[in-house]
Symmetry: C2
Subunit: 239 residues, 2 copies
């Protein structure tokens, strides 16, 4: 081959590679980035809310215990309705404004988390409708994150899915003989939450079985069966 031909071939190959890379992002990657953003926003909101509570306690210490919800707390800080008989200190307007600014930031972050979740729903509705329906948006996305992709999740045994997110407890079990975990991330699922305490292990097993089927249906573009699975579980567990 002549030099110019080689050059041409090289350019062609680079272009092909670029083209392949341009199409290499699957919805999995987007879901994983977005759910990680959601988890980080949660953590950040918690950190800043703890700070807000401490700071606002200089002015209105009684509110801290009264309101547990971070969003509601931040909203009340913005309203600045302080009980007249509060033990807190009187603060200047500029001092209160600095606190209110923090409350405002927190509300923005809570809103941001909500919008990320809306986005996740849209992507998952298209990409993995069965998982979305049976697991819910955050648990579903976390499963894909923990499984590293929908494909890998679809190929995992149900018993592994049952324990995704419980790796630490599982290794503790293997190492020290402590009790084996019954669920990881699935613990947050309302089916587990609603089940009687003695049935929770069974519930987790059933849920993981069906989620494993959901992942396969979604990966192989099968039909929508999540509704039916959910009903089956609820009937068996008498929920």
């Amino acid at each position: 081959m002549k030099n110019s031909e080689l050059q041409k071939l090289r350019t062609q190959i680079i272009e092909q590679t670029k083209e392949a890379l341009r199409n290499s992002t699957s919805p999995d990657h987007l879901i994983i980035q977005s759910i990680n953003t959601v988890m980080e926003l949660d953590k950040v909101t918690n950190t800043l809310s703890t700070r807000l509570r401490e700071w606002y306690s200089l002015y209105y210490p009684e509110l801290e215990r009264k309101i547990e919800d971070h969003k509601k707390f931040a909203e009340l800080v913005l309203k600045e309705e302080r009980a007249e008989d509060s033990f807190g200190s009187i603060l200047a307007k500029e001092d209160l404004d600095a606190i209110k600014q923090l409350a405002d930031n927190i509300l923005q972050l809570i809103q941001a988390r909500y919008e990320q979740e809306q986005y996740l729903k849209v992507v998952m509705k298209k990409h993995c409708p069965n998982i979305l329906s049976l697991a819910g948006v955050t648990i579903g996305a976390k499963l894909i994150d923990l499984g590293r992709s929908l494909k890998r999740l679809a190929l995992l045994p149900a018993s592994t899915i049952q324990l995704l997110g419980a790796e630490k407890a599982l290794f503790r079990h293997l190492k020290t003989g402590a009790r084996s975990p019954k669920y990881g991330i699935l613990f947050e699922h309302q089916i587990i939450q609603k089940a009687q305490r003695k049935n929770r292990g069974k519930a987790a097993r059933m849920l993981a079985d069906k989620l494993s089927l959901c992942a396969r249906l979604d990966f192989f573009k099968g039909e929508f069966k999540a509704d039916q699975y959910e009903k089956e579980i609820e009937e068996k567990l008498e929920l």
Copy 2:
């Protein structure tokens, strides 16, 4: 005493206590809350920026290395100007919108940090003008935070002020005989940064001396001498 008199006395005492508590918040408390908010906002911005960089790399991987500054990076994400020959994947509008929303959140947090700093300046200008001038707003506020109050800072020996923020290294030195630290939080100060490497220990000692004087002047409502101190240090170190 009759019961009704006792009752009256009790109410009076409670009122007096409340009154005392209402006036118990010193500017120190406000400075400490605000500087902690600043530090938390910094941490949060870093976490979310790392996420943004990873996520946006799906679309425009080359930008990550090109732009180190988090603010500038987020601004460029919002502009969405991608090099035509990028190796990144093409994303749908809704996918890019979710990423841009995160960039937007980050910019809001950076702005919030800036505004907290402005507030700190106002409070410190009134409460501790010497420290503000010689240490700068963030280092000055961190010193008050580490010293736990202006009063306590004013009473600390200069050698302790020199090592505030280096507690870990100091205890390592005491326990294991590792080299003793030369500075803690003061390391960030431009005088230390500008000093020749071999002079840094000396610079830290001089700066801590003068900051100790500043804290005393501020606590005992003395005159403004920070300017003069700064000149003295710079002359001696030939900066």
